[in-house]
Symmetry: none
DNA sequence: AATGAATGAGTCTTCATTCAT
DNA sequence: AATGAATGAAGACTCATTCAT
């Protein structure tokens, strides 16, 4: 299995070159704004070659986003593995997430383009990868609860809360504030871990303390 | 004040009709994917009329996002005014935010398109409105701190943290989970208010309790 | 007869205002490049009014060129009348012609536009006026021949030769040389009157002297 | 040197076909009146191909006028080379000029369009070619003066006078008279060479004979 | 396998003309 | 009579995709 094109013999270097320039173009110009010719030019190959490696512009886009996803997953996983404890792992992953996008702003744009252009219509393959990432994080939370480090939260919801917070932080926070995504992410994840209510307030309203979600 | 076209006499109904169909089209097809002809057709006017009311497709887009922003601002403000106390106001606004986008999913798409297509290049007017919204929220936090309901957080950062969380929740959470944006938002904002750490954990690590942000 | 629109009551001042701005617009932007709205704006009337006074953009253009023609005819006629003798009249008319276009470069552009946009498809009315002008000039030449001031040239051809020379001078000469149209016209008409051959050359080749046109 | 598109490999036949149909379309419909689609259709290529060979409609137009200019230059140069003597060369070139436009009336229209649409805004390249043509003609006049065939005229002005006369003849004369451009040109150039004043008149007014140009 | 020339459907925008007020 | 809002046909230019070399 050499790639999406089955038995075709491919040059991995060429494939990677195309992918790298795709990130640049899609990030800078958007999916619709990108001319496949430009990707070919920047990658130093003919336009026909781009179509040989990726069947269509859309396929190329999905391959691009998947590539970015993998890189993101890698850095967050590695960050987690370097520390112990649920909070530490969450913080480390959050930091790595923000650092990745701050170091690779083009990757952020690609993510945003994906959501904007294709809503939730990602290929099944992409969803699979996403679910795996979620599951991995849920385990971290579960471990934290088991060890008494975290209170007994709904891990499914909380993973998504953290994901939402981080996504919002890099997308929304990063460009509307004068603070760097990393600074914002640090602050946000810590605040998320601790909450913003005062001790007195928490002590007074026990129903909140239990983290119940009914209304 | 007749609109962006100065002294031109305009039919407000027609303007509104164009704007409404713009939301639909931009949301369903994206900015680039939308043909102005389609907006005109759906609004029941000639294409030339669209260009009379809005000078270009881009202007129309900005008018559309501003319209959505106003509606969003209105519901969150009204929600805040109906309750007392910082936490209650924050929760109410967050709920209203999520409810708005759940009831008007097209508006959410428009927001996403804005970010995707134009990065941070919103017109000055839009930035102004944004700043006002932020300032209003900061005051709520400030009041909460003054009254002892909230601990002494950095209001600027925290407002953005909440904004990021909510944005992430409706954009990211809403489409990757099987939970509704409203459910997610409720959970996330409560979690954010309370934090996810256990009492024991908090008691043990006092430096976190103070909300310090150093690394 | 109030104008091309028969019995309609018209305001001559308004009509003239439209005509004047038409010259400016057609000259600066060309026939196709001119937006009727701009003429209306500059003339301080509504676009509908332009169409009331002139039935179409093309009609307005013809009215504009006719207006220019009349002004040109007027100055050349008056120049002729101020002097006596064929050569003097020809020179005076030529000078007036060049002066007119140098003082009113917009009028020149209108003439050029007419030729470019409509080839020889001028309305009959325009042709009539043209013929009258030609006839008038032929008479001047005829008188010059009768008085012995001019040799016995073909007046029809020669009138057109002069017309061609002057037209070419203001159109071609005026914009390709660093000399003013007036200077060029003076030089050209004098050269045309005298010829460029040396006396000796003329004396030697008598067949040329007779101005025969056979070949 | 492949053309204006640098290293693009081009089919000269296709390029020529487009150019030929451009002449037809621009001549028949004017620059603004021509739809590039029509040129493509007539040339039997896709519209995209037209834009591959010429970057824009305007570029195509300039390439068209330059093509015409070269053809005109070629016939006039060849005509001059076939004869000896200044008068003969001038007559030959004038005849060739008129013959060219009579045989290729579309080329004339293209020249007229150029002047009408772009005033003097021709690309530098075009101006260069023009200057070369002028210089060549000036040399002919200079030689004629040196040999005693012509009187001592200002060669710069006189070249432009001849150019103006010929331009006027084919543009103005050709369409306002029932005579052919060739007939008109023959007559006009001979008249220009000889002048139209009688011998007696010339003998009487010596100041004219010297060709002085002051008023 | 690699290329890039060719294509034509698709899109934004303009503007002459009409007609209701 | 005067206006200018509304219209939609028209036209320049782009670009994803194909396919002959």
């Amino acid at each position: 299995m050499a790639g999406p094109n089955g038995s075709l013999s491919e040059d991995p270097g060429k494939r990677q070159a195309i992918l790298e320039q795709s990130i640049r173009c899609f990030a800078e110009l958007g999916f619709r704004g990108t001319d496949v010719q430009q990707i070919a030019d920047r990658a130093g190959v003919g336009k026909g070659t781009v179509y040989r490696y990726f069947h269509s512009k859309e396929d190329l886009f999905w391959a691009t986003t998947l590539d970015v996803f993998w890189r993101l997953e890698k850095v967050t996983n590695e960050a987690q593995e370097r520390v112990e404890g649920a909070c530490a792992k969450i913080r480390a992953a959050a930091l790595a997430y923000a650092e990745f996008f701050e170091s690779n702003p083009l990757c952020l744009e690609v993510f945003i383009q994906e959501r904007a252009e294709f809503r939730g219509d990602a290929p099944e393959l992409h969803r699979e990868y996403h679910k795996k990432l979620i599951a991995r994080f849920e385990q971290v939370l579960q471990d934290g609860i088991a060890s008494g480090e975290l209170r007994s939260v709904d891990t499914y919801k909380t993973v998504h809360a953290i994901g939402s917070l981080l996504y919002g932080t890099v997308v929304f926070g990063g460009h509307l504030t004068e603070l760097s995504p990393i600074e914002m992410a640090k602050h946000n994840i810590d605040t998320f871990l601790r909450g913003i209510r005062s001790k007195e307030s928490l002590a007074a309203e026990t129903e909140f303390v239990t983290g119940s979600r009914e209304q």
